[in-house]
Symmetry: none
Subunit: 212 residues, 4 copies
Amino acid sequence: MTVSLFQKANQKAGKRERTRAALLDSALDLVAQQGMETVKISEITKHAGLANGTFYNYFTDRDEIIWEVSYGIAKEIGRQIDEGMVGVDDAIERVLTATTAFIDIAIDQPEWGAVVISSNHHTTEMRKDVTRFLRADLQLGLEQGHFSITLDQYLLDQIGSIIVVCIRTQLEEGADLNLTRRACDYILRLLGVAHADIPELIAQHVQPTATS
Amino acid sequence: MTVSLFQKANQKAGKRERTRAALLDSALDLVAQQGMETVKISEITKHAGLANGTFYNYFTDRDEIIWEVSYGIAKEIGRQIDEGMVGVDDAIERVLTATTAFIDIAIDQPEWGAVVISSNHHTTEMRKDVTRFLRADLQLGLEQGHFSITLDQYLLDQIGSIIVVCIRTQLEEGADLNLTRRACDYILRLLGVAHADIPELIAQHVQPTATS
Amino acid sequence: MTVSLFQKANQKAGKRERTRAALLDSALDLVAQQGMETVKISEITKHAGLANGTFYNYFTDRDEIIWEVSYGIAKEIGRQIDEGMVGVDDAIERVLTATTAFIDIAIDQPEWGAVVISSNHHTTEMRKDVTRFLRADLQLGLEQGHFSITLDQYLLDQIGSIIVVCIRTQLEEGADLNLTRRACDYILRLLGVAHADIPELIAQHVQPTATS
Amino acid sequence: MTVSLFQKANQKAGKRERTRAALLDSALDLVAQQGMETVKISEITKHAGLANGTFYNYFTDRDEIIWEVSYGIAKEIGRQIDEGMVGVDDAIERVLTATTAFIDIAIDQPEWGAVVISSNHHTTEMRKDVTRFLRADLQLGLEQGHFSITLDQYLLDQIGSIIVVCIRTQLEEGADLNLTRRACDYILRLLGVAHADIPELIAQHVQPTATS
DNA sequence: AATGAATGAGCGTTCATTCAT
DNA sequence: GATGAATGAACGCTCATTCAT
C-alpha cells in the first residue's frame, strides 16, 4: 500500500524534483510503519532505491525530511477535506463533515494517521495545522449561535486531541464507525450543542464513507 | 528544581537502596527534560554521579528504569489524590476534585507532568494508570444518575486526553487556573452534565490550591 | 552431579582451606558445563555461595584457578588409575587397563572429561600429565618385547590423542563401550602388537566397568 | 610471513571485493597467531588498516568471518591436494600422498596449520572437512583389500587427529620429515596394513617435497 | 576474612556523514 | 547528480578488579 503523495504532486517535474519526491515518499512509508522516531536515513534511501549519499543532495538532516513529510500530509489532508465541503453552509454540518473526513482519511491511510498522531505530540506548529480546518467553522458556528465556547488554540487543541484519540484507538483496534460517531458526539458536547439535538445531527451527517 | 521522589521514600534505607533511588531520580529528571524516548543510560548514570556500569547492578535495560519511573509517579500521584478525597461522596464533586488535584500536582512538579504526558502517548498500560482514578467515580456517577455516558476505556482515554492537553498547555505557557477550570468544564460537558449546572459546580469545587 | 574433588581432599582443613576448596569445586563444576574459556569469576563465586571479592583472597586471576582445577583433576585421575593397577605385571594388560580406566573416568564424570579435553588442546604441560600414566608401561612393554615403537613424547601425544578423540566422541554421542574397545585396538595397532592377538587381548582386558 | 589467501584469489576484483579479502586475510593472520577464540573484531579491522565500522559492511559477526576463513582454507588445501594426486590409483599410495601433502601444506603455511588445528577442536563440520579427502581413498583401499577397518567418522576422526598432532608438533618444534613419516606409519598401522610392508611403502611415497 | 557496591576499561554494534569516483 | 565504501563518534553492555565496611 505504497502511497505516492509527493511523487503525485510532481509527476511532470524535472529529475531533481523526482528524486526528491522519491525520498519523501519513502520516508512517508517508513514513518507509517515505525513512527517518526526510529526511521533511519539509510532506510529511507534504500527503500527509495537510491544510494546512501544521495540523501544529502536534498536534505541536510533527518529532521528536515521528517518535517516536510508531516507538513506535506497536513496540506494534503486539508486539501481533501476542503474538496468534500463545497456548498456546506451550516457550521455544525461543516464540523461534523470535516471531523469525519479527517478521521476517515487517517484510518484509510494508516501512514498518514500515524504521522498525524506523532506530529500532534511533538510540535505546536503541526498541532495548529491539524486543527486549522476547524477554526473557521467554529467561528462560523459562533456567529450562527450554535456553540457556547471560548474560541482559542486551547479549545482547538482539546478538540484535536479528541480526534487523535479516536484515530489512535481505531489504528490499534481496527476501524469502527461507532468510535468516530462517539468522537463527534463528544465534540458537539464540548461545543455546547444541546444534548437532545446531537443524535439526529450525527445520524444525519456521520455516514459510512465510500472509501475502498 | 530537582525533586527526589524515590530518594524521599527511602531516606533511611541501606546503600543499595539509596543508589537505586539516585538512579531513579536521575532518570526522572532527565525524562522531564527530554521525554522518555531520548534518555540515554550513560546520561542517567552521569547525572547521578555514578559510573556507567553501576546502572546494570540495578536495572537490566533502559526500558526497565523508565517503566519504574512512570509507575512510581503514577502511584505517588494516586496516593496524593486519594489523600484529598476522603469523605467526598458526590460523584461530580469527586471527579472535579480528582481532576483538579491531578492537574495541580502535574504542574506543581513539572518533572512529573512531563512524565505523565510522555507516558500517555506511549503505553496503553500507563494510560490506564493515568485514568484509573476516574473509573470508579464515573461508575458512581452513573449510579447517581449524573452522567449520560458509555463507560469504557475509550471514554477514559478521551477524558484523560483532555487532562493531558490541559497540563501540557500550562507547562508550556505557565500555570493558569482558568485553563484547569475550562478542562473541568469540558469534562462535565463530555459526561452529559446539564450546561446550566456546570458553572456553579466548578466555582464551588475547583478552587485555587494551597500549593507552594 | 556436583563433585567435590577439592573439598573432599581437605575435609578437616581450616576455614581458609575450605573456602579455597569451595572456589575450586565451583570452578570445576562450571568448567564442566561450559568449557574452560567462558567461565567468569563472578560465576565461580556466586556458584560457591560467596561474594565477588572473596575470589581475590585466594587467587590472583582466572588463569590461576583454572590451571589448578586442571592439575587437580589430572592428579586425581592418575591416583584412581594407579589404584586399579596394583598387581598387574604385563605391559599390554597395564596399557589396556589404564586406558580403559582413563576413558571410563572421563565419561563417568563428564566434568572431568571436558577439562581433560580442553587441557589437552591448550597446554603442553597438561598433555604430559594426561599421558604420564602411559610412559612407564610403554617402557615396560619395550623391555618385555611386546611393542615395536620409538618411545618419546610424540608417540605419547599420538596415543593421548586417540584417547581424547574417544572421550570426546562418547561425551557427544553417549557412552559406548564399543568405541572404547576400538580406541584400545587402535592403540595396540600403533604399538605394533600383532593384529591376530589383539581381539583376544581386548576381550579379556576391556570389560564393562562397575561404575554407577 | 603474511599470506594473502583471499587477496590472491581476487587481485583484479573491485574495491568491495578487495576490502572483503583484506578483512579475511587479516582474520586469518590473527587466528594463526592466537587461535580462533580470542580474535577480536577491532583487532581484525585495525590489522587490516580499516575503521572499526567497516567490518559490518561485510560480515554480521565474528563467527561469520571466522567460519569463512576456515572454509576458505579447507577448500584451498583440498584443491592443492587434488592437484598432486592425478593419476594415482593405489589406495595406500593415495592415502600416503594426501596425508603428506596435507601436513606439508599446513607446515609450509603456518597460518593455515594453526587454523586447521583450531578448527579441528571446535567444530564437527570442520573436522569433516579436514578428513574428507581421506574417506574416498579408504573406501577404495577396502575394495582393494588393503585395509582391515570399520570405515566411519570415528575412524576418520582418529586418523585426522594423528595428522593434527603431527602438524602441531612440527609447528611447535620445527619442520621434521621424520615426524611426518612416523605419522604415516601410525596411520598405516591403524588401517591394518602389515607391519612388514610399511617401511618400504613410506620410503617410496613419503618424499621430501619441493616446497619453498 | 568476607562482603558486595562501585568502578571503568574494553568490546560489540549502529548509523549519520563524508568524499573520491 | 549519484554512488556506496569508508569512517568514527557514540552508545550499550560486560566483567575483572578494587576498596571501604
